[in-house]
């Protein structure tokens, strides 16, 4: 076999291993899905009435606030999925199996590739589940099939970026506990963007942050694709952020992995 086909088959082996973990021990996947679902319930049924009235223009008609908040919370499934990748990578590292892989004549890239591809698949499944719950709760997107495809593509791109970042975090973290704590700010960041309320309603400093942080353009693009609000140049900025973060995460993870034995 050639080097490339080894790289592909080794990565596939690693991917199978990660998916087997996910299927056999679904608790991590459940917790990934639980967070956004709880948020959805909380923000729709508890805060939804008040927030929907406050936002006003953004939520017209009977469905109301859920159409505003659902895209933002669907995106949270991507951030909470990132945490599980960091933990998975770190567990492998601390249990010594990474060092075993390193002493074998296998493709260097396969370990991280397996984790990242597995992580993206897992997170996309979680996202599909959260979208399903949102639909059940009355989320009524008016997206065309092409817009759906674009929305899913954007979510996949964001997931890829967050997964590479988390893989690097998992390699850097000393313990799995730390690995699960470091990406926590990521899960909080959408709140400081336009996920729950429009940034226009925030105080100046926070509004400035909300408008320029990476999640806001992603949320705005997603909302535009799914519910037909204005997208403007958000789409371009969103894709640029995702591509940039993917590159940073990839280079970072690769550099840490190459640095040698991690203990």
């Amino acid at each position: 076999m050639t080097t490339l086909s080894y790289a592909v088959s080794d990565s596939a082996t690693m991917l199978r291993r990660n998916l087997k973990h996910a299927l056999r021990y679904p608790s991590m996947t459940v917790s990934v899905v639980a967070m956004p679902v709880l948020m959805l319930l909380l923000f729709n049924y508890v805060f939804g009435g008040a927030l929907g009235t406050g936002i006003g223009g953004a939520a017209k008609g009977g469905a109301g606030y859920i159409d505003y908040v659902a895209p933002g919370i669907i995106l949270m499934a991507a951030t909470s999925g990132a945490v599980s990748i960091a933990v998975g990578v770190c567990v492998d590292k601390t249990e010594g199996i990474v060092n075993r892989f390193r002493t074998m004549a296998i493709s260097r890239a396969s370990f991280l590739t397996g984790h990242v591809v597995g992580g993206v698949i897992q997170t996309m499944v979680s996202i599909a589940f959260v979208i399903g719950v949102a639909l059940l709760m009355g989320f009524r997107p008016d997206a065309t099939p092409v817009e759906w495809l674009a929305a899913i593509g954007l979510l996949a791109l964001l997931t890829l970026a967050l997964t590479w970042l988390s893989a690097a975090i998992g390699l850097v973290a000393k313990t799995p506990e730390t690995a699960s704590n470091i990406p926590m700010p990521l899960t909080f960041l959408p709140f400081l963007g336009s996920a729950i309320v429009p940034p226009e309603s925030m105080p100046t400093g926070l509004r400035w942050f909300a408008e320029y942080q990476p999640f806001t353009p992603v949320i705005e693009t997603l909302r535009g694709l799914l519910t037909g609000t204005a997208i403007g140049d958000s789409a371009l900025i969103a894709v640029a952020w995702c591509a940039g973060l993917t590159l940073v995460g990839y280079l970072w993870a690769r550099a840490v992995f190459r640095r040698g034995a991690t203990r």
């Binding site: 076999m1 080894y6 088959s9 080794d10 082996t13 199978r16 291993r17 087997k20 973990h21 056999r24 021990y25 249990e95 010594g96 199996i97 060092n99 075993r100 892989f101 390193r102 002493t103 074998m104 004549a105 296998i106 040698g260 034995a261 203990r263």
Partner: protein
């Protein structure tokens, strides 16, 4: 030669002529100012067992990590199975198997799945992979627990599975980093049997690190003693034992004054100030003991107790590394050891 006692390979004379499986020249590793490995030379013939003996923090694990391509050396060269560890790392990796001191198994998979994972990574075809997994499970008496997740395994079973995983790729050179540390005596003996079997049945070369002289004595053709990153002695178990004093006399004192007086009196010997004890080289014969007691009496130095020690690992460390073995009640670990001991004692 029997299989159950002593090294398993023919004679030292026969092994010396074989081509080397591992060679190292001036191998060194430092992290910033901290020198972990201070230029070691190795030549290990094919089909032999080599033991690297040393206290915690001596650099044993670092040596294994360099030779198994995990970390680069700061200086020096090493060849394993005929390939340079830095320039031709993948060729080295294809020829070796490594079982570290932390069992590198996948806890979430079953024992069989762990072995099949290794088979896949060695690019064995499916049937061959299954055959090897079944063989190894039988050989390591893990067949009954093959379908259980590894997370439920005891330390001994885990270590066996770890070694079985190392063997899936049919390595020619096997690195075992403290393979029995933390195991109960029974599991330790089982592990020794397995390691002996590898050499007699498969003819592999084994590079073993250990803290236990007994283990090196049981398994190895040649032993090297590593201390503070330097090889301080090398030879067969017999040769090393000859370098250890036959025995020593240990005098225990009630206070530091007594110890100081006795130390001045005898000149020779090693002081253990913390334990208020003086170790005098000597064979423990009646005339020698009488001479010691007479000398104490004549100088009116009062010793609390006297004990005669026959040689053991503590004496090897005392003699060859110039320090009591860390963790031994009579000695206290030196500072350079304690900085690293948490790593090696973690499990």
């Amino acid at each position: 030669m029997t299989v159950t006692t002593g090294p398993t390979t023919p004679t030292a004379a026969a092994t010396a002529t074989r081509p080397p499986a591992i060679t190292a020249t001036g191998l060194a590793k430092s992290y910033g100012d901290k020198v972990v490995l201070d230029g070691i030379d190795l030549r290990i013939p094919e089909g032999t067992v080599f033991a690297l003996l040393g206290p915690n923090g001596a650099g044993k694990t670092t040596t294994v990590q360099i030779l198994s391509t995990l970390i680069p050396a700061t200086a020096g060269e090493a060849r394993v199975a005929g390939h340079d560890v830095t320039r031709d790392a993948d060729a080295v990796r294809a020829a070796i198997g490594v079982t570290g001191q932390f069992s590198a198994v996948d806890n979430l998979l079953t024992a069989r799945e762990n072995l099949l994972l290794m088979a896949d990574l060695h690019h064995l075809d499916r049937r061959e992979g299954r055959r090897r997994a079944t063989d190894l499970l039988r050989r390591f008496e893990l067949t009954e627990v093959a379908a259980k997740p590894v997370v439920t395994f005891s330390g001994g079973m885990r270590r066996k599975l770890d070694l079985a995983m190392t063997l899936v790729g049919d390595p020619r050179v096997i690195f075992l980093d403290e393979p029995t540390t933390g195991l109960d005596p029974r599991s330790r003996r089982t592990m020794w049997e397995i390691i002996r079997g590898l050499v007699t049945d498969d003819g592999v070369t084994i590079f073993l690190t250990t803290q236990y002289l007994e283990e090196a004595d049981q398994l190895a053709d040649r032993i090297a003693v590593l201390d503070h990153g330097k090889l301080v002695a090398e030879g067969t178990a017999e040769e090393l034992k000859r370098r250890i004093p036959g025995s020593h006399v240990r005098l225990q004192f009630a206070d530091a004054d007594g110890l100081a007086a006795a130390a001045a009196l005898f000149g020779a010997g090693t002081r253990d100030s913390e334990a208020l004890a003086l170790h005098l080289p000597g064979d423990g014969s009646i005339p020698a003991l009488r001479a010691v007691l007479d000398a104490l009496d004549a100088a009116s130095v009062r010793a609390e107790s006297l004990t005669v020690h026959t040689p053991d690992l503590d004496d090897v460390f005392l003699t060859l590394t110039g320090q009591p073995r860390p963790g031994h009640p009579a000695g206290s670990p030196s500072t350079s050891n304690s900085s690293n001991s948490s790593k090696e004692n973690a499990r």
